[in-house]
Amino acid sequence: MQSITAALRSRAAALTLLAAALLGPVPGHAQLRLDITQGVRDAVPIAVVPFGGQADGGAADVAAVIANDLRMSGRFAPLERRDLVARPTSGAEIRYEDWRLLRSDFIVVGRVEPDGSALAVSFELHNVRTGASLLAQRLPSTDKGLRATAHRIADLVFERLTGIPGAFSTRIAYVAVDGRPPAQRYRLIVADADGYNPRIILESREPIMSPSWSPDGQNLAYVSFEGKSSAIYVQRLASGERRRVSARAGINGAPAWSPDGRKLALTLSRDGNLDIYTLELATQTLTRVTSDEAIDTEPEWSRDGQSLYFTSDRAGNAQVYRVVLDQARKAERVTFTNAYNARPRVSPDGKELALVTLDRGGYRIAVMDIASRNLRVLTNARQDESPSFAPNGALVLYATRDRGRGSLAIASSDGAFQQRLSSDQGDVRDPAWQPFAPRG
């Protein structure tokens, strides 16, 4: 994971279609920024004290990164820095009564220290009410790695307090578009989960769509129209090496990786009719899954890899169906609430689907419990789309429109809150949250 950023810089050679100058940081642009759009009730107050050994502010301010991550989760309300009454940097320096007065339930303190030619970051998490130490660790770091270390600390704090692994060390992929029709420029971008450190993966005059992470989080499949028609590419982030895996006549769309990483489900059109296929990447073996006159698209694998969820308008309007792969062509409908349900994404535990639903006149993000079919609408705008679960299942990242421009937003899976990730300029859309790296 840590090598991705460095490796992205050295990947120019593989992208023969693209200028090397495109690579590296996004030039003063498309950085995402967290805007709280809805107050979070019941968020737990926590003090994240500026870490010793470093100046306040700047991109590497460890405490600021941790506080921002915890705020983004919707479950915590970090104290404003100006309200911090003291600056302890170790557990021994904490005067609990000060923090009880501020009604902070928990406190994170720490410091950055030289460690040979590199750095080390020590941190502690304490319960303000009881004074108990909940977590104390020392993590190796570097000047350039401080943000990554801070995300790691946020992951550990989040997991210690909620029992859910934090997803702050993962990345997100999305598409940014600028320019006006017909002279638009499309960029596929990978950034840290908090929107920092955006890197251009691909830039084109023609549309780029539907980024999909491989289960190991090392590759992206996506649709690019760079050849004046759609084709599916698989790009390895570490090396930049990419392969065109499907450029058949007609539509090549909606790639989705199988849980074992060996196949893509995808949409192809023969004679203009869209159906779902699977493609074994190593052998290019193509297997047809659906065969219907309707639009069948947006496939998504069940967690056990045995079936596919997909969107179809075979009943007259878009609904989500499921087909068991070895009993292909006998699809069962799974959504029944509302006249439009599309783009299913399976939750990490496999029990829920995030989807786009037409709810009271607006296209909104909902989560459906697969067993009970109970549909929970999470958002309330008019044009929300492209839901993607965080790898810990706690949040859903999606695309929305804000004052006429595409932007990204986050909702908690339980519907308790929404927050916007606003971009400095351009339209941003089609987000996909990277899965956790496999353990071991």
Partner: protein, 179 residues
Amino acid sequence: MKWMHVLAIAVLSLGLAACQKPTKPDEAGTASGDTGAAASSSGLGGDASAAGGTTGAALTPQQQALADLQQKSVVYFEYDSSEIRPEYVPVVAAHASYLVKYPTARVRLEGHTDERGSREYNIGLGERRAQTVRRALLVQGVAEAQITTVSYGEERPAVEGSDEAAYAQNRRVELVYAQ
């Protein structure tokens, strides 16, 4: 996409095949933008306006027919529909006559949707619209080999905006004769 139709006229009237060569980078940041590897860029706009002066030159009958045809080369659709509305039936018929008369002519049908709903599903809707026009052309005697289709879904709007006026202009099939 209007430039593309104008460009097609320019190509024909100048008798140039050279238009396929990469366009030169323009000044970045101008309204017309700079150029990229793909052919959709502003350098072409310059070509087209230069060609404007040549349209007065003598055109072959085919060139004249194409120029007339390209006055009406977009078919618009109702929301969530891929039916050709009655007012566009003559438009499609005019393209069909041209393609039948000139069997070497090639048309590309680009299907589009408005921005509502899911992106990949909209690729399907755009394709369905393009296929409707394709079938109408085939029925009128156009050869399959003369037609290609592509769907851009909501990815290439004709106009920006999130109101019905913008949506109506974006739900369309463009008939493009660029090479």
